[in-house]
């Protein structure tokens, strides 16, 4: 049995929280689910782009377990295909699950292919379902644990602003450069 957890110590690094879930895919639904996931838009059009607190998410199917080489003692066999949904988020898990339920109706498509999914209309049931399939992350690292998604976006915008300034101000003498910098920032 995998360890279930609601607020395991390894779940959080700084302000970042790691959600890892394994949902058992219903018999005969895996191909349809794979085709659906394959067709989901990426980048700015991804349904997950609607979530303000989301750093990264990954949705994938585990159909079998890879043998790890000669040092592996036991052969693990996966009885059912599993849908693995992971997220790295800012803030609390409940707030994230609420946002997922309200802004990402596509959840019904992927978890709807899995055992026990209650839908999104009953928020408490939705939260309870995701918690029931949650696994403790063995190791969670965050490159920028104290920056929220909003912090990262604003830092990137500032970076672009600084670059534009540097391009524009190339070759100016020191006094003009200082004056230009003061007015720009």
């Amino acid at each position: 049995m995998r360890k279930r957890t609601s607020e395991h110590v390894a779940d959080r690094v700084g302000g970042a929280y790691a959600l890892t879930t394994f949902a058992r895919v219903l018999p005969g639904r895996a191909d349809e689910l794979e085709a659906y996931l394959e067709a989901l838009p990426r980048g700015a059009d991804s349904p997950l782009a609607r979530l303000e607190a989301l750093h990264t998410a990954r949705i994938q199917l585990f159909r079998s377990l890879v043998h790890q080489g000669p040092k592996q003692r036991h052969t693990d066999v996966l009885q059912n295909t599993h849908l693995v949904f992971t997220s790295t988020i800012d803030g609390s898990l409940d707030a994230y699950l609420d946002a997922l339920a309200s802004a990402v109706p596509e959840c019904d498509e992927w978890w709807g292919c899995c055992a026990g999914y209650p839908g999104r209309s009953d928020l408490a049931a939705f939260r309870a379902y995701v918690r029931s399939i949650q696994a403790a992350p063995g190791l969670f690292q965050s490159a920028i644990p104290d920056a929220t998604v909003a912090d990262v976006r604003s830092a990137l915008a500032l970076r672009e602003q600084v670059i534009d300034f540097a391009v524009e101000a190339q070759g100016l003498d020191a006094a003009t450069l200082q004056a230009r910098f003061r007015s720009a920032f």
Partner: protein, 452 residues
């Protein structure tokens, strides 16, 4: 016929440890024949196409050494659609790697082939076979082409696309740079390596690249055999990348002339490329071209980037430093570059833009980029997608290769490190992809099986 450059004499011959007669030519050692034509064909009748291949087989050039260059040389490669059209068993077809089965167009998003470089704008698609003909001069090429077009095309195959190419004087590309200098020395390939060919050996020198990085059926840099399709395609074959890259020479000249770069236009062009036009590496001679280096085949490619981590000599984002980071910081003395090497066999196409001209003359010109490798995804695609179309592996954020990367809005830039640094922004368009495909170039044994 353009003269061979003094600084690129023929590489010496060595004893080979591979079966040269079973390997198609131009892979282990590049042809010196300056004129080339690329015929993309589509198989319309399998039986007649097989008969045609049987007739063509004796003309296919192998890697066996020449004493004198032949007047012409021909090679053959297939797209996945081509191998399918030939009716190979499905388990054999399924044994080919995914990138090859999908083809280049399907991988466009990952490769960065977007906007005007996207597949919907390409000049051709749906080819099955690539027949490449090289010749010692244009008239010999014309004659060979006329023969193929008259006798063979229409006889079970139809012509999808014909592309001519020809080396420019002194081995230059249309941006004016001596091209094709850096090539991996391949272990056992029978070609004497020069300093800089191959991989950094960790002791300040160079070592040959494992044969299995370029040819299937031999040990690769990981110490095993590269993943390969089923027999008879598992040995002495290689995967081919073909890309027709249009080069806007006038735009490049105008750009470097108009930037007001303190070092002047010539130095700016060199900083973007990573070499001076004569091939002198900036890593060795950052202040100007040095004929004593560029004319010496043992010095022109003998350099690394480990001693220039900030890119003060050769910018971190320079084209040649991205495409082959050698021992640059972050690549662990070459340990993270050894599985991403390719053999390049490009040829320019189109006439050169008039010297000094800054306005486009409306003539199409560019480079037919060809490279060979055993793993399209790990080698060409990794270089293109992660090193050319992205800047992250170099700590350059989203910046792309300023010379050949696909421009992306107003965010792209290049930093030329210095005191102070110099910024180029936004990234203009110098290169546009006009079409391309992934092909498999089988061994002679496999070719005979296909034709049987």
């Amino acid at each position: 016929m353009p003269a061979r450059r003094m600084n690129a004499p023929r590489r010496g011959r060595q004893a080979a440890r591979v079966d040269l007669a079973d390997i198609q030519g131009n892979v282990l050692r590049g042809y010196t024949l300056p004129a080339a034509a690329y015929l993309f064909l589509r198989i319309v009748d399998v039986d007649r196409a097989s008969a045609l291949m049987r007739r063509m087989l004796p003309q296919v050039m192998t890697a066996s050494p020449w004493d004198e260059p032949p007047a012409t040389a021909m090679n053959v490669a297939f797209t996945f659609a081509g191998l399918s059209a030939l009716g190979l068993e499905s388990d054999v077809l399924d044994s080919f790697p995914e990138a090859f089965r999908q083809g280049m167009a399907a991988r466009a998003q990952w490769l960065g082939d977007r906007g005007p470089s996207a597949p919907e704008h390409w000049e051709f698609s749906g080819a099955h076979v690539l027949v490449t003909v090289y010749a010692v001069d244009v008239s010999r090429l014309r004659a060979a082409l006329a023969e193929i077009l008259a006798a063979d095309v229409g006889n079970g195959v139809e012509l999808v696309h014909l592309q001519r190419a020809e080396s420019l004087p002194e081995g230059r590309d249309h941006f004016g740079f001596f091209d094709g200098i850096a090539q991996p020395a391949i272990a056992g390939g029978g070609v004497e390596p020069r300093p800089g060919d191959g991989q950094p050996d960790g002791a300040g020198g160079w070592r040959e690249l494992a044969t299995g990085e370029i040819l299937l059926g031999y040990t690769d840099e990981d110490g095993g055999l590269p993943a390969a399709p089923a027999a008879p395609f598992d040995r002495n074959g290689t995967f081919v990348v073909y890309r027709k890259l249009a080069m806007d020479a006038a735009a490049f000249r105008r750009y470097v002339a108009s930037q007001g770069y303190p070092g002047g236009p010539a130095e700016l062009a060199a900083k973007i490329v990573g070499r001076w036009p004569d091939g002198t590496p900036l890593a060795v001679s950052p202040d100007g071209p040095d004929a004593s280096i560029s004319s010496d085949s043992r010095r022109i490619n003998d350099f690394g980037f480990a001693d220039d981590p900030l890119g003060l000599r050769c910018p971190v984002g320079a084209h040649i430093r991205r495409a082959n980071p050698r021992d640059a910081a972050g690549f662990f003395g070459g340990k993270l570059t050894n599985r991403h090497r390719i053999v390049r066999r490009g040829r320019p196409y189109g006439p050169p833009l008039e010297p000094g001209a800054l306005d486009d003359d409306g003539v199409e010109r560019g480079l037919i980029f060809i490279c060979f490798q055993t793993d399209l995804w790990r080698q060409f695609e990794t270089i293109q997608a992660l090193w050319v179309d992205d800047g992250d592996p170099f700590g350059l954020g989203r910046d792309k290769d300023f010379l050949i990367g696909e421009p992306h809005g107003t965010t792209g830039k290049m930093t030329i490190p210095g005191h102070p640094p110099y910024f180029l922004k936004p990234q203009p368009r110098f290169v546009t992809l006009r079409g391309g495909d992934y092909l498999f170039q089988p061994s002679m044994t496999a070719l005979r099986t296909i034709a049987a």
